[in-house]
């Protein structure tokens, strides 16, 4: 049995408290009125260039007002974006670990059984994670923020000045009530499957009943199919509608590839940590090697999707499509956009290529840290350009929310690991996994 070390517990609690304070600070200091924004922009302008004043002098007061309102909404979105990015990131890590776990069941894989309890522990985060994310969805649905531009008043009303014919054409799918209901269904189904798979896995330990094994096999197969469909619409609903005019059919797979590589990285890192502490004596080099191979493979998988999506739109050069890449490739998000390609593809590709390096724990940890940082940047650049816009920065609200969710993730996962023996002795493939040797 694993015992949650008090050092790690204190660390996670401190992260959570500091993070919560910083998040509160972020919401508190967000500008409330257009005057605040005016001052803020004035400040920035003075610091940068003076010639923008001449340009602003020529536009009418009404236009300036609408421009200021837009800037206000973006500034108010900043703490919400800071909340949404890590909330989504850590929840999807847990969900994708559940998917990976389900794949192991469905494939009746032999090698990975010793890692089952680690994976189950990580998936424990799905419950608190989905509650927090659903609170965010509710807040967005009830107009407490301006994250989703299509939720603005009058978008679907032909009489309104805000009317948007393109979004109105999608209103059969893109409406707030349907969006909230779908969000609830996705999260509810993930939680149900997590609960059932975990319950049966524990039950298998107590009585070596093969019918439980078969039951879990069936659940896993059903879950994979459901997830494949849900993930498609989940990425559309939560991320792609941030830019409601833009579309890409590859988008869901792109998000999937980004999150599954992070999920597998987290499995590898937690496994190495627990093994280092001596709680997983039955995990050997070959298991780490296999996880590192997955990290390597899925990093390339991600790069493939990233480049596919990018090159087709770059080459076609259709304005409605390239509008998405303007802030990212050429605008203020360029360092993140280019940087994440290097971190997510070039580094893992070179670090994890050699077979021996994949068996060296500190190499896997180094590559894993890079992969997690890179994919956090990835999720940030998926969300932030649409919500915060060009005047983004990575300050107290962003770091604090990351700290909060990291603390919560560590706390929940390692608490869940103490709940059951780390050796899933009831699984019929356990012996095969223990002697697994590459």
């Amino acid at each position: 049995m694993y015992t949650f070390s008090s050092k790690l517990k204190t660390f996670s609690l401190v992260l959570m408290i500091l993070g919560a304070l910083g998040m509160g600070y972020g919401f508190f200091t967000a500008p409330k009125t257009t005057n605040d924004v005016k001052e803020m922009i004035h400040h920035v302008d003075e610091a940068h260039e003076a010639d923008t004043h001449e340009a602003t002098a020529q536009i009418s007061a009404e236009e300036e007002q609408s421009h200021l309102e837009h800037a206000l909404h973006q500034a108010q979105n900043r703490p919400w974006t800071a909340f949404f990015v890590p909330a989504f990131f850590f929840l999807m890590i847990a969900v994708l670990v559940l998917v990976f776990y389900a794949i192991q069941w469905a494939a009746q894989a032999g090698w990975s059984i010793v890692l089952f309890r680690v994976m189950e522990g990580i998936t424990a985060y799905i419950l608190p994670g989905s509650i927090l994310l659903f609170l965010f969805l509710l807040a967005s649905g009830f107009h407490m923020n301006h994250m989703y531009a299509w939720m603005a008043e009058g978008t679907f009303n032909p009489e309104s000045a805000n009317y948007d014919a393109i979004i109105d054409g999608k209103s059969w799918w893109l409406n707030t009530s349907g969006w909230l209901i779908r969000g609830f269904i996705y999260l509810f189904v993930y939680n149900i499957f997590r609960w059932m798979l975990r319950k049966n896995s524990i039950a298998l330990d107590e009585n070596n009943d093969i019918s439980i094994y078969k039951k879990n096999f069936n659940f896993a197969v059903i879950f994979i199919v459901i997830f494949a469909i849900f993930e498609l619409f989940m990425s559309f609903d939560w991320l792609m509608t941030l830019d409601p005019h833009w579309y890409s059919q590859l988008y869901s797979f792109y998000v999937f590839s980004s999150m599954i590589v992070s999920g597998i990285t987290v499995i590898a890192m937690v496994t190495i940590y627990l093994k280092h502490k001596g709680f997983l004596p039955f995990v050997n080099d070959s298991h780490i090697h296999d996880l590192a191979k997955y990290m390597f493979g899925f990093s390339i998988f991600w790069a493939y999707f990233f480049f596919d999506q990018f090159m087709l739109q770059w080459y076609a050069n259709i304005p409605e499509e390239t509008a998405y890449f303007m802030p990212r490739l050429l605008g203020s998000y360029q360092p993140i956009f280019i940087g994440m390609i290097v971190i997510n593809f070039v580094f893992p590709f070179l670090i994890l290529m050699d077979s021996d390096f994949k068996r060296t724990p500190w190499f896997v940890i180094t590559a894993g840290m890079l992969i997690l940082i890179g994919h956090y940047m990835d999720i940030f650049q998926l969300i932030s350009p649409a919500t915060v816009g060009n005047h983004w920065s990575f300050g107290i609200p962003e770091i604090a929310s990351l700290a909060f969710f990291l603390g919560l993730f560590v706390f929940v996962v390692f608490t869940a690991l103490t709940k059951a023996p780390l050796h899933a002795k009831g699984n019929p493939f356990m012996k095969e996994s223990e002697i697994y040797h590459y």
Binding site: F307, F310, M311, Y315, N317, D354, S355
Partner: protein, 174 residues
């Protein structure tokens, strides 16, 4: 020093693997093992050094990548710039996304083909080469372990029979 070897034939890969381990424990030298298919773990049991073909593969990949960069730069930027869909054709860096598929393909092409050729050369498989396996049955369902004859022939034969050999043959190695 005679070049005499004894060829022990086995009909099961597991038996062969244990035999190889036992033979090495008894300090007999294994010249070669002929198998109809790759036997998992045989290289380690024989004490062979790790393969260096992965390193050559990496080097060939780098060569292929460099070749592709040179080729694309020469063809598309220097020699005959073409206006394709209004894409920038005056600098390599700005036109790079369009080149990525070719960079990738040529890297893979070089790495794969040159690695296979290296493997053939290293294994001495080239045109008009005669087969070096001692018995045609090793291409079907039998395994042959070739052990250097050192000392007593009968003693070694007895030992090999014990390890599960179904057929023994003493021969002079060319």
């Amino acid at each position: 020093m005679s070049n005499k070897v004894i060829q022990a034939m086995y009909d099961d890969d597991d038996v062969l693997l244990t035999a190889v381990k036992q033979t090495r424990e008894e300090n007999h030298q294994i010249e070669e093992v002929y198998t109809p298919f790759p036997v998992h773990g045989l290289d380690k049991a024989m004490g062979l050094k790790g393969t260096r073909i992965a390193i050559t593969s990496f080097i060939y990949g780098v060569i292929g990548f460099a070749f592709a960069v040179w080729m694309l730069n020469y063809m598309m930027i220097v020699d005959w710039p073409q206006n394709i869909g209004g894409k920038p054709n005056f600098s390599f860096a700005e036109n790079m996304p369009a080149f990525v598929p070719i960079l990738f393909e040529l890297t893979v092409f070089f790495a794969a083909h040159l690695m296979v050729i290296t493997f053939y050369m290293r294994s001495k498989i080239w045109p008009f080469q005669t087969a070096s396996n001692p018995d045609p049955r090793t291409t079907d369902d039998k395994f042959v372990m070739e052990v250097t004859m050192d000392g007593n022939e009968d003693q070694l034969s007895d030992f090999l029979k014990q390890t599960g050999a179904i057929e023994l043959k003493v021969t002079e190695k060319k």
